[in-house]
């Protein structure tokens, strides 16, 4: 056996949770047994994206993709593939309809439609290896910024790229950077919002687990551009693996003087710390998040003042989310022209969507903005299990709404989705079949936001509770028809009067399902009927 193999083992939280490490341990044991440890390199990477098939491994140089691995499969991979050069057929990916066996990861339709900018290194490099990150052009963006560009140049480049915030609101990123740069004050902060709490969204976790250096480098560039010497990454405590890898990456960056004083010998000082949450969804809201970093209760404050003027510790603060930062280095390296050539007229670049719910291929998908929902569901997602009929997709989690089947050809970009009364949000995409009751779905989301409401402002605290009571009565067939109008009225008022984004968007799932599935609500009220057969069965 002359050649040396690299085994890329997905060590994202999804693959680990389906037994990835038990497989790894067995693999190491088998390699030892055959004295192959020296010839085979196991690289634990971040999320490969196709979580449904996990645990997965890609064997290089052949590029063979093995899926749904159990510990006992390690023996075959070692004895057949590594020793005898015979691909283990039974562990390969099969196309659903044609039953065609696909050997290479690149030939799987799930990957073919994707364009990876944010997730470019996820599943390819060892996330804790600075060398591998540098091998993939890591830190060339910071080098370019510090040697060739003024802070104004950096901001212009980001502005020209058309990048907009990926956390939900879609605010132009370059403009935000400029506001912070122009804000008066010697002390400024750069913050990364990694408090990804939207049910159904998990791209930020994957970036931190799979490519933490890209966020660290981007935040350093941001520090240079806006004039901040201190950065914070606020990560939710539910993501221990992301915290561990980010911690290790920060430590290595300090060791190589990529963080700290006089970075690259170019006079830039930038320190970076992690702050860990403690289970409060509202901390994803930027003002609440900053209070939590300060060690306070994570409740939001009214805006203005905006963080750019008065943020963390009362100082001008730049706050972007993980996915937004993950775009920055590529924009610097490849230029704003390249970036703005991707996507639609007003929504530039790519968006990472988290495909979940009733869909064959669940996982993370990065596509150019403007990719249609149909492409997502049928080409990338591989359709619904058991050929069930697509009913709707919930987009943007508890702050978003649904896109019903009749609008399946909608391009997924900020504007088109907004026209349907919903938002891209953080990019959660939950696919639902005819077996889902829309009243029940709306209730779940409202239960969620009602539970997570911090209680500071009455519209959100009391309003969502009242809405939930009405919804509950509807789902039990005890509501009157007038109550549906009251529900809409309440929802609209809560949107207008709540203090922060949580309350302002909490009624969206309800309003959106009423908009497209009013007949289902009326059936529950008038006929005590749930066409999905869910509501009246429940003993809740």
């Amino acid at each position: 056996m002359a050649k040396i193999y690299n085994l890329l083992l997905c060590a994202g939280a999804s693959c680990i949770s389906s037994g990835g490490y038990s497989f790894r341990d067995k693999l190491v044991e088998e390699l030892k047994k055959h004295k192959l440890e020296g010839m085979v390199n196991i690289v634990e990477t971040g999320c490969v994206g196709i979580c449904e098939l996990g645990p997965v491994v890609i064997v290089y140089p052949d590029g063979v993709f093995y899926k749904k691995l159990k510990p006992e499969d390690a023996k075959d991979i070692v004895e057949e593939h590594l020793l005898k050069g015979r691909v283990v057929q039974r562990l390969l990916y099969k196309e659903k309809d044609s039953e065609k066996i696909v050997q290479q990861a690149t030939q799987i339709p799930f990957f073919q439609k994707q364009l990876k900018i944010v997730l470019r290194n996820c599943g390819i490099i060892d996330p804790e290896s600075l060398e591998e990150y540098i091998g993939k052009d890591g830190y060339s963006a910071l080098a370019k910024v510090l040697t060739e560009m003024s802070p104004e140049d950096v901001i212009k480049e980001i502005k020209d790229s058309g990048l907009r915030g990926r956390g939900g609101a879609g605010f132009p990123t370059g403009l935000k950077w400029e506001l912070v740069r122009n804000s008066k004050g010697d002390e400024k902060y750069v913050v990364c919002n990694a408090d990804e709490g939207d049910p159904g969204a998990f791209m930020d976790r994957s970036v931190l687990e799979g490519d933490p250096f890209s966020v660290i480098e981007a935040m350093t560039i941001a520090g240079y551009a806006v004039g901040a010497k201190q950065g914070y990454v606020y990560v939710r405590a539910e993501y221990p693996l992301a915290i561990k890898r980010l911690k290790s990456a920060i430590k290595k960056a300090y060791e190589e003087n990529l963080l700290g004083k006089n970075i690259f010998g170019k006079g830039l000082d930038f320190d970076l710390e992690i702050r860990v949450g403690a289970g409060a969804f509202v901390c994803g809201e930027e003002t609440a998040l900053m209070h939590s970093i300060e060690g306070q209760r994570g409740t939001p404050s009214p805006k203005p003042p905006f963080p750019a003027d008065k943020g963390l510790f009362g100082k001008p603060t730049l706050i972007n989310n993980v996915e937004t930062y993950a775009n920055i280095c590529q924009i610097i390296l490849k230029g704003s022209k390249w970036f703005s050539s991707i996507g639609t007229e007003k929504s530039k670049g790519t968006k990472v969507f988290a495909l979940a719910g009733e869909i064959n291929n669940t996982g993370l998908v990065e596509v150019p903005m403007g990719t249609t929902l149909r492409e997502m569901v049928y080409e990338i997602g591989g359709g619904l299990p058991n050929n069930k009929k697509f009913k709707a997709a919930q987009i943007g989690g508890p702050s978003g709404g649904c896109i019903p089947a009749e609008f399946i050809d909608t391009p997924l970009d900020y504007e088109s989705v907004k026209k349907l009364g919903t938002i891209i949000g953080s990019g959660g995409l939950i696919i639902m079949s005819e077996d889902t009751c829309m009243v029940d779905l709306a209730k779940y989301f409202l239960e969620f936001t009602q539970d997570e409401s911090c209680g500071k402002c009455p519209p959100c605290r009391i309003g969502t509770k009242k809405m939930l009571e009405i919804l509950d009565r509807i789902s039990k067939g005890r509501a009157k028809q007038e109550e549906l109008d009251l529900l809409i009225h309440l929802g609209e008022q809560i949107c207008k009067t709540s203090l922060c984004g949580l309350g302002q968007t909490a009624p969206n799932p309800v309003l959106s399902t009423i908009r497209y599935f009013k007949d289902e609500y009326l059936e529950h009220i008038n006929e005590k009927k749930c066409r999905a057969g869910i509501c009246f069965k429940k003993k809740k």
Binding site: E196, E238, F281, M432
Partner: protein
Amino acid sequence: MDREKILKKYEPTRENLLYILHDIQNSKDEKYLSEDDLVAVSKYLKVSRSEVMGVATFYTMFSVKKRGHHIVRVCVSPPCQLMGSDTVFNYLKKTLGVKEGETTDDNMFTLETSSCLGVCAVAPAMMVDDDMYGNLTPEKIDEIITKYREKKNG
């Protein structure tokens, strides 16, 4: 590590409050923050007791009541609900013989819920302490629970 050592690890500034509370809670078998803990933290940071209590009770991952050695958090987010987390949750309640928020008689497990664990692609999911488990079925749950019980006995 005892409480004094944990406190000394951090500068006495307010922004370290969450870290300190996490560390103290994790250092204890009963995974909670006692009255004494809160008083000690308040003295160390020179922050009033009510403020410390306010923070400790705001965040769902802190508890001021005694809990079990292991915290089981079942994800009850809509993606998990769609994939059958109700069944998983009910099965856990039955197996452990507790309701939500309660601790088993042997003080091994406390059963809690989480609004989203962020592993929606392998729903339904749960977390035991820092370890994530996905694609749950009753059989898998039995395996996991047995593993933790055996670890304690063996």
